[in-house]
């Protein structure tokens, strides 16, 4: 009886809408599940790290083309990462002498400058960690019960004598 109750609860918990919302905007999935404070903290933490990445490494630390593997991690932040990359690719890159699209080196005419050295490494790292943490949050939102439903599950488990 106890196993049956827990199994049903796990099935009942799966919530793809919360997962999609959590990916669209960090913290929104938990907000949707009735946990506004948790959602706000997740959003604040992930965005702190992502905007910290752009603050430290410049817009060049988010680059789908030149730093593909870093961007795989950063993409976990969701549409915000793709928007930052789109702005970078379309607004700040110039064609260099070899005909390739590059972020220009520092100079009076450069709208944004190439990120190198520690600033680039740390910026890329902040962004990738933000993305991976948000993926954890998406997974958590997918299987976290809604707050009202969790109370019901706990009550049912308590009446069965099973741990919640």
């Amino acid at each position: 009886m106890t196993h049956h109750t827990i199994h049903q609860s796990a099935d009942e918990r799966f919530n793809p809408v919360a997962g999609v919302l959590a990916y669209l905007l960090p913290g929104l999935g938990h907000w949707y599940l009735g946990e506004a404070k948790r959602g706000l903290l997740i959003g604040a933490g992930v965005l702190w790290l992502f905007f910290g990445a752009v603050l430290i490494g410049g817009i060049d630390s988010v680059d789908r083309v030149e730093d593909k593997w870093w961007f795989v991690g950063q993409a976990g932040v969701g549409p915000i990462a793709f928007a930052a990359d789109l702005v970078h690719q379309t607004q700040f890159k110039v064609v260099d002498s070899r005909g390739q699209l590059q972020t220009p080196p520092p100079g009076p005419d450069a709208k944004a400058s190439k990120s190198i050295g520690h600033a680039n490494e740390i910026g890329s790292l902040f962004g990738a960690i933000a993305g991976m943490l948000n993926i954890m949050c998406v997974i958590d939102a997918l299987w976290r019960p809604r707050i009202d439903r969790r109370v019901r599950i706990r009550s049912a488990s308590a009446s069965d004598g099973a741990p919640a």
């Binding site: 903290l41 933490g45 490494g57 410049g58 060049d60 709208k111 740390i122 960690i129 933000a130 958590d140």
Partner: protein, 83 residues
């Protein structure tokens, strides 16, 4: 350095860091990780602030300890073994 700071445009240019000070970014990184991780992990949010402070401190202390350990190996043990 002053000229680099004056020329810096936040969010567009990479932040000018005085030589050797880049490791200070470990603190905001550790804080961000702790804020998100504990928001998922904790059931009882009343302990949240304390847990975040503790995890941030743990990350920083362990990273500093690792840095000291690696410095000892590279700067002291390796030359000693090399004669």
């Amino acid at each position: 350095m002053i000229l680099r700071l004056l020329a810096y445009t936040p969010f567009l240019d990479p932040m000018p860091m005085p030589g050797g000070m880049w490791w200070l970014t470990l603190a905001p990184l550790a804080l961000g990780i702790a804020v998100v991780y504990k928001a998922i992990k904790l059931d009882d949010m009343r302990r949240y602030n304390k847990q975040v402070a503790m995890m941030t401190t743990q990350i920083i202390v362990v990273m500093v300890a690792l840095a000291i350990g690696i410095q000892l190996v590279v700067g002291w043990l390796t030359p000693l073994l090399g004669g």
